[in-house]
């Protein structure tokens, strides 16, 4: 068994708490992540689930080193990147890609789709044969070639998210962080994007951290799940295990709170427990 792509030990992240910032001097630090241990195996999709405030997005940002951990260790591909300075991180960046939650705000409105996809390629020294690479990326995410010359506002939500995926995957990264990438989409589009990501992850052997608040989506896509709450890991296990036999009450509550598209008169009754 190969060593995991990510190995995280005792990860802590503290951020300035702007709500408690005094007039002068720094804001006091608030601990967002309170010591996390986990591995992300190579070539698998790991779901990170939690409600707002659970720290799941902070965790994602710490993995791709947009945030510097305050304690603990983050080993990526055998290399300790916990406190790596930005200059040394730069060559690693092409392997640490990110797909954002809001495709609208992460795409520059004044640039064509082609140039949006091409930008990270050029930056990482893959500027040769640019046109072909862009064409390949578009094709990979199922967008027609005619989209190369279009702008952000000419695209639908699902198409924008495809562009986001194309941009991240054009570099054939080792790791992709997908942060709530389907939460703003309609169900029909959501299904398409998930199917696409599922297919690409399998084809390209990607290691993906898939952050979501939606357990249904996680179950479909991920092999492993990490459940987070208030900056700590509640439960982490293989997806089927977690859904069939949730160990923690919190996980069970989360599952019970999901309104399934089926008639269930008991669901809304105050005292009722969800049927086993």
């Amino acid at each position: 068994m190969a060593e995991p792509l990510f190995s995280v030990r005792g990860l802590k992240v503290a951020l300035p708490d702007m709500t408690r910032k005094p007039l002068i001097g720094r804001a006091p630090l608030a601990e967002i992540l309170k010591g996390l241990d986990f591995d992300l195996p190579r070539g698998s999709v790991t779901g990170i689930v939690g409600e707002s405030g659970s720290g799941k997005s902070t965790l994602g940002r710490a993995l791709v080193r947009l945030l510097e951990p305050s304690a603990g260790k983050v080993i990526f591909d055998g290399r300790d990147i916990t406190h790596l300075p930005e200059a040394e991180l730069r060559p690693l960046r092409r392997n640490l890609q990110m797909i954002f939650q809001d495709p609208m705000s992460s795409l520059n409105p004044r640039r064509t789709i082609a140039s949006i996809i091409a930008a990270p390629l050029k930056q990482n020294g893959l500027g040769d044969n640019l046109k072909a690479r862009v064409a390949e990326a578009l094709q990979r995410v199922g967008l027609p070639q005619s989209f190369a010359g279009r702008y952000r506002h000419e695209l639908s939500g699902g198409q924008r998210q495809r562009v986001g995926i194309a941009r991240a995957l054009a570099l054939s990264p080792k790791f992709v962080l997908a942060d709530e990438i389907v939460s703003g989409l309609d169900v029909s589009t959501q299904a398409q994007i998930l199917t696409l990501l599922e297919k690409l992850a399998a084809e390209m052997g990607l290691t993906v951290a898939f952050i979501s608040h939606d357990l249904s989506v996680i179950r479909r896509l991920c092999r492993l799940v990490i459940v987070m709450r208030e900056g700590a890991i509640v439960e982490a296990s293989a997806t089927d295990t977690l859904f069939e036999h949730p160990q923690q009450a919190y996980t069970r509550d989360l599952l019970a709170a999901i309104p399934l598209p089926e008639i269930d008169d008991a669901w809304l009754l105050p005292a009722a427990k969800a049927p086993a």
């Binding site: 709500t19 005094p22 007039l23 002068i24």
Partner: protein, 335 residues
């Protein structure tokens, strides 16, 4: 915590004022124009020049002069005006109330005019009324205050002479006032005959000062109002059954006023700056009018005193704006 904030604020104010004092002190001494050359009569000799220089302490280096002056200021002595031959602090505080009254009346008018048109424009958004308000405020904004002054003088001073063109009060009147705040004191003393005379003098300069600011307030507030009027809580208020005017006044105005407020603070300092020229135009006996004479005569101590008072005023206005901001924004108040 609050005390700490207050002290820090006080310290920054003091530093700002000191900086202003240094800059003004140096600039007016380096700038062309020498107060002694200004008062040299025909026939004066170089010896006379030297004698007068020594008399006014201008024979020392700028640094020496500054510290002599500063030592005086610390004791509350801002020196003696060269041209008016009186204590600078007394002169300045004697004139300041007139300018403050004018500026405050102008500010109130600007708020009233700007606020009303903003609310009307926001309520009638997309109609000819809004377009009319936009054109009017465009005109008000592109014409500077002193030109408004001239227009007003022509309109209400000459063609339809309903206001007084110059001065602050009719010289014929006997004033019972104990302070220089004539307008406020006339109201407190219930001497509304005097209030009317004071207003008849003050309205034209006040309008001239107020119009450009009113236009800015109108445009900015209208814009913020229109933005706020699309927000969920405003929609909710409409659903509750409130009329558009009620919605604007109760729900939108306070939140829309926040961005306007900061700007009004900044603009108010401009307005006070504008009093200099407008007071001159209307021969209004305020600080600005005196400032122009002081500059013409190169009356160094007086210029310093006036500028420092203006600077103090600006600093205080900023403080007031910050406080108002906190008062209107509960997030900051409890933050």
């Amino acid at each position: 915590m609050l005390l700490q904030r207050f002290l820090i604020r006080l310290l920054t104010m003091a530093i700002t004022l000191f900086g202003v004092a240094v800059v003004v002190f140096v600039v007016i001494r380096v700038a062309p124009g020498d107060p002694i050359a200004m008062m040299l009569p025909p026939g004066a000799t170089d010896a006379d020049v030297a004698r007068l220089r020594a008399l006014y302490g201008l024979d020392k280096t700028i640094v020496q002069q500054f510290f002599i002056w500063l030592a005086g200021v610390v004791r509350g002595d801002f020196g003696t005006s060269i041209s008016l031959r009186q204590d600078v602090l007394g002169l300045v505080f004697n004139r300041l109330p007139a300018t403050l009254e004018l500026a405050i009346v102008a500010l109130l008018m600007a708020l009233a005019i700007g606020g009303t048109t903003a609310i009307l424009g926001a309520r009638e958004r997309g109609t000819a009324v809004e377009a009319g308000i936009d054109i009017a405020s465009g005109a008000a904004l592109s014409i500077p205050d002193f030109l408004w002054g001239l227009v007003l003088i022509l309109l209400f001073g000459v063609l339809v002479p309903i206001f007084d063109i110059s001065g602050r009060v009719s010289p014929q009147l006997d004033l019972p006032f104990a302070t220089q705040f004539y307008l406020f004191e006339s109201i407190v003393r219930l001497r509304f005959d005097l209030t009317r005379d004071l207003l008849a003098h003050m309205l034209m300069p006040a309008i001239a000062l107020a119009l450009p600011l009113a236009a800015i307030i109108s445009q900015l507030l209208k814009q913020s109002l229109k933005e706020v009027l699309d927000l969920d809580y405003v929609v909710l208020a409409r659903v509750k059954g409130f009329s558009e005017t009620q919605v604007i006044l109760r729900e939108a105005l306070k939140n829309a006023a926040l961005p306007t407020l900061t700007l009004v603070g900044v603009q108010f300092t401009f307005l006070i700056g504008g009093t200099v020229i407008v007071e001159r135009l209307f021969s209004y006996e305020g600080l600005g009018n005196m400032a122009i004479d002081a500059v013409i005569n190169r009356d160094l101590p007086l210029i310093q005193g006036i500028v420092l008072v203006f600077a103090l005023l600006f600093v205080l206005i900023n403080l007031a704006v910050d406080m108002m901001y906190a008062l209107l924004n509960p997030r900051l108040r409890h933050g």
